[in-house]
């Protein structure tokens, strides 16, 4: 379940800095760790200036080739962290994930592992349009041998990144772009002072305390972010913060909500889900992915399979994500939708 706080010194960092902080620590300790992707010598300029261009490489816009090359590099002894701006761009080379990364270990009967990390931004809330705003994690987590990680805070981002690099498995490490101030700045934010995302950016996800010396956070351990006895709100990534907002609204109406942050979708902390849902008897799954064939249905199945009796509702993406800010906000699992779903279970 929840991780006890470490006693080591901490520094306040942005979400993106926390990821690079952990990756830098891993690169300093292990010369087989490398990172490459589009524009990484600019995006990961701190790592580039620290480790040089042989370990922090720019790629051409060739996702199918460089993702497959990551699998090849991992098979040949490196621990590559292959980066994409957005998971949407992986779709042109999805075979590298589905047919190589998630299968080669199984094809070799577990002998030949693929210790690669695919790092990619996910999600919307900042109006980038329907092919730059998806999460696709439900699909990713459905493949037999893949780890899918979605940190919701800087501290988690650091600890989970260290675990991802150290893992011998093929790992997809997904960073919600709304929490990643660097990518928002890069996509034009810091060149105009008229940009204001403060009203939809969860402060606790964007910046926070991170251990100076990062310790790995094990996969498959959910974190309870808020404890309440009436309903359990289950989510991941930005959705965790939307659930916390919804919990505030519900508390004003006398409904006490628990908020469970899954942190990794594969492996999934089934015990924690069952335990908290059984305790509250009501559950809302909030998912910034498509409603069909994803996390929301998976949790419903889990509850049925485990004979957990609970009232259930889900809030997820039910359409192509619109571009216009007000339409996008309405289409995503916002706090109003989550609170309304929780109330519908009363």
């Amino acid at each position: 379940m929840s991780i006890t706080a470490t006693t080591t010194a901490t520094t306040t960092m942005r979400y993106d800095e926390a990821v690079d902080h952990a990756l830098g620590q891993a690169m300093a300790e292990d010369p087989t760790v490398v990172t490459y992707g589009e524009d990484v010598q600019i995006l990961r300029r701190v790592l580039h200036s620290r480790f040089g261009g042989d370990r922090v490489k720019d790629t051409p816009i060739s996702e199918s080739a460089f993702m497959y090359a990551g699998v090849g590099a991992a098979m040949a002894g490196l621990r590559p962290v292959v980066e994409l701006y957005m998971i949407d761009f992986a779709t042109v080379g999805w075979s590298a994930i589905l047919n190589a990364g998630s299968k080669f270990k199984d094809f070799s009967a577990g002998e030949w592992k693929v210790p690669m990390v695919l790092r990619a931004g996910v999600g919307g809330w900042y109006s980038d349009g329907g092919e730059h705003a998806q999460t696709l994690w439900g699909s990713l987590a459905s493949y037999p041998s893949v780890e899918v990680v979605v940190p919701s805070t800087p501290a988690d981002a650091a600890g989970l990144m260290l675990s991802a690099v150290q893992s011998d498995e093929f790992t997809v490490f997904l960073t919600p772009k709304l929490l990643d101030q660097q990518i928002l700045d890069y996509l034009a934010g810091d060149q105009r002072d008229t940009l204001d995302l403060s009203h939809i950016q969860p402060a606790a996800g964007v910046r926070g305390e991170v251990p100076a010396r990062v310790e790995p956070i094990p996969f498959g351990q959910a974190a309870l972010r808020r404890d309440g006895g009436d309903v359990t709100l289950v989510s991941v990534g930005t959705g965790v913060h939307r659930c916390l907002e919804a919990a505030d609204r519900l508390a004003a109406d006398g409904i006490e909500a628990s908020v469970l942050d899954l942190r990794t979708l594969a492996p999934l902390d089934k015990e924690a889900i069952v335990e908290h849902v059984a305790r509250t008897g009501r559950v809302v799954v909030a998912d910034e992915d498509y409603v069909r064939g994803g996390l929301t249905g998976e949790i419903a199945a889990l509850l049925l399979e485990s004979d957990t009796s609970a009232r259930y509702a889900r809030v997820a993406v039910e359409q192509t994500i619109p571009f216009a800010p007000h339409l996008e906000y309405a289409a995503l699992p916002n706090a109003e939708r989550i609170a309304a779903a929780a109330k519908s279970l009363a």
């Binding site: 600019i42 040089g52 007000h326």
Partner: protein, 352 residues
């Protein structure tokens, strides 16, 4: 049979495109345009020189720098502006935003997935051969897109099936913020020739040269003689997108360096990595900034709109500019009024 370029018409297309882009860029800076915005300022000679050849059933598969070709083909500026400004009254009812505009009335659609225009144009061209023989499919892409597998596959398909496609390569030397030559083997023209594409080249800022080269390829394609590759050079004065950090480095070096220098120094003094690697990495940042300085500037000599002006009489040019300015200003004024005055992304005003 090559037709003579109607210089006044082509100049009007370029002026109109530039004015729409300028108006959107201004609105972007004021926080009225959500998300990313990729202006086609500097590409007007390319777009006009090609689109001037298109007829009723010809189709266009566009990329992320699409406002200019849409406007030149006849898309309503106000409807496009409303979309880009995040209104649900826009041309795509707020669903697309600028990267995914679709306008069936001008037979053009755009896609933000790099390289996808190639295979889309191949499919359109195949349809043309069956449904509208003599029509062509045009697709625009950058030189950096030529490292995308699906585009290369579409070159081969177009040749193998002998389809009426013209692949237009706009070479501005940069893929997002990476210098294309640093991540590319060979060169675009020999690569295209290797696929068996018929190649024409021109300087993209000389619209009359683009028009002539495009005319030869379009004519071949219409006659069933197969696909073409039009290689054009151009400049990207606004960078990859509005707010491009490397453009920021040039326009407001103090601000950008105040962020970057401490970060880079942090990397330099941190443990791990050899001194030689660190030194090379730092030098690399300088080299990239230097190349950017050289490549993005749109000098008067290389400005396709300025150059195009000299192709018409001064009085005709002035009249065109006045007419277009009045229409585009009115369109943007009305679009701004419709979305309302707002700061940032409008979520504040729209939701809370």
């Amino acid at each position: 049979m090559a037709t003579k370029m109607d210089a006044a018409r082509v100049y009007r297309m370029m002026v109109r495109s530039r004015m729409v882009e300028d108006a959107i860029v201004e609105a972007w800076a004021e926080g009225l345009v959500p998300g990313e915005y990729h202006a086609a300022i500097g590409e007007e000679g390319i777009n006009a020189g090609i689109i001037a050849h298109l007829t009723e059933h010809d189709t266009m598969a566009l990329d992320h720098r699409n406002t200019s070709p849409f406007i030149m083909r006849g898309t309503d500026p106000k409807a496009l502006m409303l979309e880009v400004l995040g209104s649900d009254e826009g041309i795509n009812r707020g669903m697309s935003g600028h990267m995914h505009i679709f306008d069936k009335s001008v037979k053009a659609g755009s896609d933000g997935i790099v390289g996808s225009g190639g295979p889309l144009a191949v499919g359109q061209a195949y349809a043309h051969t069956r449904l509208h023989p003599g029509s062509v499919a045009i697709t625009f892409h950058g030189e950096a897109t030529m490292n995308q597998g699906l585009l290369m596959e579409s070159y081969n398909m177009a040749v193998a099936w002998n389809l009426p496609v013209v692949f237009v390569c706009k070479d501005n030397k940069w893929g997002i913020t990476t210098y294309s030559k640093d991540v590319t083997g060979g060169d675009p023209v020999s690569r295209a020739k290797g696929f068996g594409l018929h190649v024409e080249t021109a300087a993209g800022h000389k619209v009359q040269d683009v028009y002539a080269a495009a005319g030869r390829l379009v004519e071949r394609a219409r006659a069933g003689k197969g696909p073409g590759f039009l290689y054009l050079t151009c400049h990207r004065p606004n960078g990859h997108f509005e707010g491009d950090p490397l453009v920021g480095l040039l326009r407001n070096p103090k601000k950008q360096l105040s962020v970057w220098v401490p970060e880079l120094q942090g990397g330099l003094v941190a443990e791990g990595g050899s001194v030689a690697d660190k030194a090379k990495a730092m030098a690399g940042v300088g080299v990239r900034a230097g190349r950017y300085t050289r490549d993005v500037a749109l000098t008067l000599r290389k400005d396709p709109v300025r150059r195009g002006r000299s192709l018409v009489s001064s009085s005709v040019a002035t009249k065109i500019e006045e007419q277009e300015r009045a229409e585009i200003r009115a369109a943007m004024d009305e679009a701004r009024e419709r979305v309302g005055h707002r700061v940032g992304f409008g979520v504040k005003g729209g939701i809370r």
